[in-house]
Symmetry: C2
């Protein structure tokens, strides 16, 4: 038996929120932690000093209740971020993209619990070797950055759970109680929720973005930009331009130029639905209302219990 | 509560086998039915008279035990096939690809139970309207032909189960007991198994194909030929050629020419691993042994019960 995620992280519910760029500020993270899960601040969209402010604010709100910070290991000012995390004694650090061997030991030495996001068994094993406390196995269904092997949660979770001895948190395709139960059936010790919390009241995403998300259907997102780094995007006009270029075999340079800079901010934070890079998971088709996190979590628990009853 | 798949089909286990081209002959279908599930003969790779022979042979083996036939609705000699199915009084017909409104009523009038394979809620609703008895919701994980919306089982199953009133069979990503349990948690009333049975002893696939399958890993397949009709393929030399052409934006005509004719037969049935079109699902990474179907089903039940115990 693997250690439970709740005892590892000191939380009541085995739910963590994704560190979603332009959504996961201290407000969303605090709301998730106060609901019994583990909220993550997403550092990917923050300047180092902005991150410090978010950490200091969440500490005031939460007191001793745990929270975490997600840092992409390809972040340009990575050293500074790591320094802030250790100085501020952030209880849980989730690293993603990049080599977990680089910072895991340093973070653990300062008392942090370290988890790493992976999208294949190969990288799950590398993360376990690097000494992380748990892996977050993120499937093809997830929004935003995604693995190259296109493994959905139904395949990835059991493969990873059977391959490593540390706890596994399933991510991607989980926004309903039945999906939470399915993830546990597949061998997950906990779940990470992205898209649902991205459209919560406490998410710092722009109102335009949230409202668009509520209207989306089963064919509204697509895994795109595979020549650079795969990202699941909403099919807006910017996406159509990328898609057209990719279909005619445009060069990496041309795609990079079309992408430009700061598009995720433009779309998700500033609400430009035409020119923005709009990241969300496939589950968005089943999400039809903006609600406070607390209510979302209560519904999840209700659905989970109902699904469990139906299974008997 | 939806009708159980077992009572609908008159079987003991809620397991059906996929109608896999060049794998699903009367031997594989009979083995699945004799193990308590519903075996399907895959008509997609058969001349009409070959299909009739397979049906007549399976009837001898099975007596009153039910079986089914899968027919792709884009089959060139469709009228002839439908005639054979009704004449031979095939108890269960699974249609796939194409419009279920065309033949469902005619097949039902001759006493057949009709199920249709779909890969989106949109088509699930159309199938329900056409009067099918159940839908088979096939996710992105599956081998061979695949939906355009790239919806994995984790997303597709609950969406479809919540959208239609008829029973839903989950397909794609199910080769272990924990995945079977997960499918039920997601709201499926039964499961369809493809890749696992494709490498069973009774599958008519070539030994070369089965042996290659046992060596495959998590990044060995890819959803390909999206410009024509998406198919999940093993990354062999033929795949590499298609992939290279697609990456440089080759025309539909050029891709069609590269594909040519009869490649699935060449690869799966004749064992040409270089030039063949090799269709298999992502789960193949977890399948490491050729076994008789009966043994595979016993292991599935064991794993399912174990996963259910772990969930409590």
């Amino acid at each position: 038996m693997k250690q439970s995620i709740c005892s590892l992280l000191g939380i009541k519910l085995p739910i963590i929120s994704g560190g979603m760029v332009w959504c996961s500020g201290h407000k969303l993270a605090a709301a998730v932690s106060l609901s019994g899960g583990l909220g993550l601040i997403g550092a990917g969209s923050m300047h180092p000093e902005t991150l410090r402010q978010h950490i200091q604010k969440i500490k005031v709100t939460l007191g001793n209740t745990p929270f975490g910070v997600n840092i992409p290991l390809f972040y340009p000012e990575l050293e500074t971020l790591i320094y802030i995390l250790t100085e501020e004694k952030v209880p849980v650090v989730v690293t993603s993209g990049g080599n977990p061997a680089l910072y895991t030991q340093r973070l653990k030495e300062t008392g942090a619990i370290v988890m790493h996001v992976i999208a294949s068994v190969k990288f799950a094993k590398k993360a376990a070797e690097a000494g992380v406390d748990a892996v977050i196995a993120e499937g093809f269904e997830a929004g935003g950055h995604n693995g190259r092997d296109e493994l959905p949660t139904m395949i990835l979770t059991p493969m990873v759970a059977q391959a490593v001895d540390i706890p596994v948190i399933a991510a991607g395709g989980i926004a309903q109680g039945c999906q939470w139960l399915a993830a546990e059936a597949l061998g997950a010790n906990g779940i990470q929720i992205g898209s649902l919390f991205a459209v919560s009241e406490e998410s710092s995403a722009h109102q335009n973005f949230k409202e668009l998300c509520l209207t989306l259907g089963e064919n509204s997102t697509h895994l795109s930009l595979k020549g650079l780094s795969p990202v699941r995007l909403i099919k807006n006009e910017f996406f159509a331009r990328v898609n057209e270029a990719e279909a005619r075999g445009a060069s990496k340079e041309e795609i990079t130029e079309i992408l430009g800079r700061g598009r995720a901010k433009k779309g998700i934070f500033e609400g430009d639905l035409v020119e923005g890079e709009l990241e969300i998971g496939q589950n968005i088709a089943m999400i039809n209302e903006v609600k406070p996190v607390k209510e979302m979590v209560e519904i999840l628990i209700e659905q989970y219990n109902e699904a469990k009853l139906n299974l008997k």
